[in-house]
């Protein structure tokens, strides 16, 4: 049991930090521009595919640098020529635009790279077990993912708290209308933030591609979850996004690890259930079965009872 808990904790943190890489960019964009970017996970997918193509020519490591830069450029272009144009039609149009963009990017990816799973592999140097605990390996690549995620978190935190641009961004998050009055080039800041956010998602894609698979559906699998994190964490709160990422990561791994069903719960109260009733599916419902649903349940509950999110100050 301890082994299970230990590895679940570890896996939960790895997943959580990966999610944070996506969520941090999304929350910045959302807070500053008011756009919930549906296509954010598509940038994550682009990161993985770019890195895959680069890796077939020059190996994994250059891809780790180049792919996010490319994704960031794509993001900046999308902001400059797409989103900014749509902005005049209002927030609903922006949301629908990113929704369409997500659809389009998936189609373009399929057009360029085809529809099957790509054999994008972790680099040779990281293909070993870092340590063995209770007979279970912990792959070095997972540790590498952990390392990258944490360093990005630290760098992001430093930039936001110590640098001038960070202060502008913080100001823009809490008071979106004020920054323009202070004479900053807001469109440029927006484009930059959008590009950097996309690049962060790209990094996540580069390092998650080998571990979670590189295929056209990878954005759809992850996309809505990132939304959930941003909303649950609270608008304009990086800390909220961080906590929510870890929360969702751990929630999902532990829900799988802990094998309890509704039946077990009812047994506690000495209620027996009829195996043939129309509700039989409800009685046999188990925690691992509904694990991927929990984030959405959390989302709906949070929005009903605390629309500002866990750490947010402004309403969504």
């Amino acid at each position: 049991m301890f082994e299970l808990l230990f590895f679940s904790l570890l896996n939960g943190v790895v997943t959580g930090l990966l999610l944070f890489m996506l969520a941090s960019g999304l929350t910045l964009i959302f807070s500053m521009m008011g756009v919930l970017n549906f296509a954010h996970a598509s940038f994550y997918m682009l990161g993985a595919y770019f890195a895959y193509t680069i890796s077939t020519y020059v190996g994994f490591w250059p891809g780790l640098i180049l792919a996010p830069i490319l994704v960031g450029l794509v993001g900046a272009v999308v902001e400059r020529y797409g989103l900014r144009h749509v902005h005049r039609w209002g927030h609903v149009a922006e949301l629908i635009f990113t929704f369409g963009l997500a659809f389009l990017i998936e189609e373009v990816v399929q057009f360029i790279w085809g529809k099957d799973t790509k054999a994008y592999q972790e680099p040779e140097v990281l293909q070993f077990a870092l340590f063995n605990f209770f007979g279970q390996d912990f792959p070095a690549y997972k540790a590498f993912m952990l390392l990258i995620s944490i360093s990005i978190f630290v760098v992001l935190l430093l930039i936001l708290t110590k640098s001038r641009i960070g202060l502008i961004i913080q100001a823009a998050i809490t008071h979106p209308n004020m920054t323009a009055m202070l004479g900053h080039n807001v469109p440029l800041v927006f484009m930059g933030v959008f590009g950097v956010g996309a690049a962060l998602a790209g990094v996540a894609g580069v390092i998650a591609g080998p571990a979670l698979g590189t295929f056209p559906g990878m954005a759809v699998v992850l996309g809505p979850i990132v939304f959930v994190i941003v909303v649950v964490g609270g608008l304009g709160s990086l800390v909220g996004a961080f906590v929510a990422s870890l929360l969702i990561g751990l929630l999902q791994t532990f829900a799988i690890a802990l094998d309890y069903s509704v039946n077990d719960l009812l047994m506690l109260f000495n209620i027996t259930t009829d195996a043939d009733s129309a509700l039989r599916d409800l009685w046999t419902l188990s925690l691992p079965q509904i694990a991927p649903l929990l984030p959405y349940l959390l989302l709906v509950l949070i929005l009903i009872f605390r629309p500002t999110g866990l750490f947010g100050k402004r309403e969504t």
Binding site: L104, F111, P224, D281
Partner: protein
């Protein structure tokens, strides 16, 4: 919306004038299967009818109520499941009920769920509403795979529409009979939804969409207005689901998943959410794209994606908006002077598009076909994808067409503005 509707609401309009579009619609619905009589076209029209109702019900939220929903398929799907269960009840004679009444039960289940979900989701509009609808959509879609007793798992639930008492000799064994069933329901629901938009409730839905705060200062609770719109929308979506169940005789998880919710958003938006008939046009166009375009090209979804993104960017009023922009020109009989500029910009644009589509198709062909199969046919033309000439032609088409079209753009804009310029203040639909 407001322009068209208020133009029609002008006092003194005779009864015939009011009913003219409806008579036209009824006649059209009756004669369509005689014009398009092949099996597949009747079937496609059935699909259109269902999606017209569904898309219109969606637009009660987005276009008229300002609520962006990413989970509208929930009500469509639940209505479908309830209806297919009713079809089975009829088959096993638990109820004696003519088949054509089944969609009502779909509507009722849609309404019930809309009441439950709307009671908390309509508290706010905007992003909160959108996110709740997304979460609920995911929850319901996933539950449908878990609760097999009701939803039948991924295989869904099947029924048989030919059961139950025959009324007027219809047993719905053929698609044409189903067509008329759907047509009658479509006519009734379109009329009801149109009338809804012209009731105090429908008007206030627009008001809340435009300015939810001000609506509260003229006596209306924005939440209650949204809630009622939401319930009505769920009801009509449920009816569409019921018709789906009758037409396909099977309802599966895909009826209530995120994809269907996305499709209905796409249809409404491409058609134009600002107009009552927008979603109708959107549903027709999208169904045609889906069933026809996919016969000719494997990458049809790419085209749909491009079309959608371009619509959002350049025609936020949708296809109907583009049509409506021409209304004042037609009314003022100024079509003539616009004809030449249209040709001058249209022909190069079409050439550019031909080149682009050709390039995309050829690239796709080269990548997806076996290496020895280099011959491909496109629009009746056979050519070798490994020879240079077709590529050169297509690139030239694209570049030259695009360049000419771009060079024509300023002249076109000038002509367009000229045609519109002296529009007196009362026809400002093209703002």
């Amino acid at each position: 919306m407001s322009n068209i509707s208020s133009a029609q609401s002008a006092p003194g309009s005779s009864l015939f004038k009011v009913f003219r579009p409806w008579i036209f619609l009824a006649v059209l619905l009756i004669i369509l299967p005689f014009i398009f009589s092949s099996g597949i076209s009747v079937y496609t029209m059935n699909l259109m009818g269902i999606f017209i109702i569904f898309a219109l019900s969606y637009n009660m939220l987005l276009g008229q109520g300002g609520m962006l929903s990413f989970g509208h398929a929930v009500y469509f799907g639940l209505g479908g499941f309830m209806s297919v269960h009713f079809m089975n009840y009829i088959e096993y004679e638990i109820f004696i009920l003519p088949m054509f009444l089944v969609p009502i039960f779909g509507g009722i289940i849609g309404l019930i769920f809309a009441v439950i979900i709307g009671s908390f989701s309509t508290r706010r509009a905007g992003t909160v509403f959108a996110m709740i609808s997304l979460g609920i959509g995911e929850l319901v879609a996933a539950s449908s795979l878990i609760f097999v007793a009701f939803f039948g798992g991924e295989e869904g639930v099947s029924g048989d529409r030919t059961m139950g008492p025959n009324v007027l000799g219809f047993d719905y064994a053929t698609d044409v009979e189903v067509y008329y069933l759907i047509a009658i329901w479509a006519f009734i629901t379109i009329a009801l939804m149109y009338m809804f938009s012209r009731t105090p409730m429908g008007r206030m839905a627009n008001a809340v969409r435009d300015n939810e705060e001000r609506a509260e200062f003229i006596g209306y609770s924005q939440r209650k207005v949204r809630f009622i719109s939401f319930c009505a929308s769920g009801f009509f979506a449920g009816i569409a689901g019921g018709l789906f169940a009758i037409n396909f005789e099977i309802v599966t998880e895909e009826n209530l998943n995120a994809l269907t919710s996305g499709v209905v958003l796409l249809m409404a938006y491409i058609g134009g959410v600002g107009f009552f008939i927008g979603p109708i046009i959107g549903a027709v166009v999208f169904t045609l794209l889906q069933t026809l375009l996919s016969n000719y090209t494997e990458i049809w979804q790419l085209y749909v994606g491009v079309l959608f993104v371009l619509t959002v960017m350049y025609a936020p009023q949708g296809l109907t908006g583009i049509l409506a922009m021409h209304l004042p020109v037609i009314r003022m009989k100024r079509v003539g002077p616009l004809l030449m500029p249209y040709l001058r910009i249209g022909i190069p644009t079409i050439i550019c598009l031909i080149g682009l589509v050709g390039l995309l198709e050829t690239v796709h062909h080269v990548r997806s076909m076996p290496a020895d199969q280099t011959m491909m046919s496109l629009a009746g033309l056979e050519f070798d994808t490994h020879s240079v000439l077709p590529w050169v032609i297509m690139v030239v088409f694209t570049v030259v067409g695009g360049f000419v079209a771009k060079s024509q753009a300023p002249q076109f804009r000038e002509a367009w503005e000229e045609a519109h310029a002296p529009v007196s203040s009362d026809g400002g639909s093209a703002k």
